[in-house]
């Protein structure tokens, strides 16, 4: 059997990986602030003696689709949607600074401000902890104001500002914790001009139609590879029958 089967096999593994990435996008079509994955195939040339006829494919993640998702109005005062391409800084489980587009914020028991998936939200000076308050509000520039217990409702006090970071010019990559990190470490600069829309959430930017088309395409590509495998099998069979001694 010749090397063709291995080339096909590699392609099939890649297609199944791509199908998983498409399934992941589809599964997250309703996850607040989700950014779709872009997975593509790359040719991997196997240089060696003889004709360079073989190039196996290799699936790679190109990165996330950073197009904005649609805004959904919720009316909840702690829901924010980030305008433009800015990212909200959060603390990743390993303590480093990471970035996300989701803005469904919550206040934990200890007053720590977190996203709904549990990551502490950062200001320029570290994670934000809010003191006890009668009311918490966020303004369009990301400033958080509170009305202290018993305080005058007309005189909110600013306690912190969300760190809205600009990814412009930096290489950001989604890591295993599903948050964006600066490639090779480091932090993004805070963007003083970034704005948020309060009382709204940004939906996932997965394009369902695109995902369905990609899924069908991957299914057909898989069938082509299976056909190649059967062709290789037939070639092998006929080769073997030529070699057979007449009985």
């Amino acid at each position: 059997m010749d090397k063709m089967v291995h080339t096909s096999l590699r392609a099939m593994q890649g297609i199944m990986d791509r199908q998983q990435a498409i399934a992941h996008n589809m599964a997250n079509a309703d996850t607040t602030g989700f950014r779709a994955e872009i997975v593509t195939a790359q040719a991997l040339y196997l240089a060696g003696e003889g004709l360079d006829s073989r190039a196996t494919t290799n699936e790679v993640t190109l990165g996330a689709d950073m197009n904005p998702g649609t805004l959904k109005s919720t009316g909840r005062p702690l829901d924010i949607a980030i305008n433009g391409d800015a990212l909200l800084a959060v603390q990743a489980p390993d303590g480093s600074e990471a970035y996300t587009r989701r803005g469904d914020l919550m206040i934990s028991e200890s007053g720590l401000l977190t996203t709904a998936d549990g990551y502490p939200v950062m200001s320029d000076g570290g994670p934000i902890t809010l003191p006890a308050a009668d009311q918490v509000s966020i303004s369009a520039d990301g400033a958080i104001a509170i009305i202290p217990p018993g305080g005058d409702p007309n005189q909110p006090q600013q306690v912190a500002r969300l760190k809205l970071a600009s990814p412009a010019g930096s290489d950001i990559v989604k890591q295993n914790d599903a948050l964006f990190h600066v490639r090779n470490g480091g932090v993004l600069p805070s963007d003083p001009d970034a704005k948020v829309t309060v009382g709204a959430l940004e939906s996932s930017n997965v394009n369902m139609t695109q995902a369905l088309v990609d899924m069908i395409e991957a299914s057909r590509a898989w069938e082509t590879q299976v056909k190649l495998l059967t062709t290789a099998q037939q070639l092998d069979d006929s080769g073997a029958s030529i070699m057979q001694l007449p009985s």
Binding site: M12, M16, A23, N25, T31, T32, I147, K227
Partner: protein
């Protein structure tokens, strides 16, 4: 045999199914006094790094970008959406609505305190103000037999004209409780909520003070479920469910094709 795409699509079905249940519960409570809608929030599951960026692709070359595959989605939790429900005038003297933040305190059968936004109170046999289930309001308010012109002020002061008297008598003062994180309260059914570690301790005091909303007599706070919003969410959830099941079907067909052809 475990197939990535199939398992990932399954997580999508699971999550959408849970969301549908939350929507169904919201819709079922569209006419429940003081009900606050829940929202299911999804989170992305961890990624698997199949190929690290910078790993050797052969002796001379490195992968410029790796292959990181996501493993699906899960429901991170549900969140109570604490927006004000619409006020419905009822004209009943014991119907109370809170305009703004705060909860009525209710004494449960085991002596612990529960909290509610539903202010449809009634008088029991002993003249005490109780919920529809008969659980007394805290602090206890006694309305004597024959009392007329019962008024409950915006700050919770209850007064009435007692039989044979011309002047109104103050019967007590309803206090409400507020929380640092009301979204952290846990629903226990019957419109009642209980304190949890996440909600923080109750801050009790007169209505209308320190951020607590004022009371309005003769009105009830309706459910804050918006039917149209829930229906749109339901259609969205249904479509997302369908697309995930399409993925399972497509992957199944791929594997079936390979099994038949080879």
């Amino acid at each position: 045999m475990s197939n990535g795409a199939l398992q990932v699509a399954r997580t999508g079905l699971d999550a959408q199914n849970t969301k549908m249940r939350v929507i169904a519960n919201n819709l079922a409570n569209v006419n429940t006094t003081g009900f606050k809608r829940d929202r299911a929030s999804f989170e992305t599951l961890a990624y698997q790094q199949r190929i690290m960026p910078g790993a050797q692709s052969d002796a001379q070359n490195e992968y410029a970008t790796g292959l990181a595959l996501g493993t699906g989605v899960q429901v991170a939790g549900t969140m109570k959406i604490d927006t004000q429900g619409t006020l419905q005038p009822t004209g009943n003297a014991f119907d109370l609505a809170i305009e703004g933040a705060g909860y009525f305190q209710i004494e449960m059968a085991d002596g612990t305190t529960a909290y509610t936004r539903a202010g449809n109170f009634a008088r029991n046999g002993e003249g005490q103000l109780v919920t529809q289930e008969g659980m007394p309001l805290i602090p206890s308010i006694q309305v004597p037999e024959g009392a007329t012109n019962i008024t409950i002020g915006a700050d919770g002061t209850v007064s009435a004209t007692l039989a044979g008297e011309a002047e109104a008598t103050e019967l007590g003062k309803i206090e409400t409780a507020n929380f640092t994180n009301p979204a952290g309260l846990r629903s226990i059914g019957s419109n009642l909520l209980v304190e949890t570690g996440s909600s923080g301790a109750p801050i009790v005091g007169a209505a209308g003070e320190a951020g607590r909303g004022t009371l309005r007599q003769g009105s009830l706070e309706g459910s804050n479920v918006n039917i149209v919003e829930e229906l749109v969410d339901m259609i969205e959830t249904q479509r997302a469910y369908e697309v995930n099941s399409k993925m399972i079907q497509a992957t199944d067909e791929m594997l079936q094709f390979a099994n038949q052809q080879l």
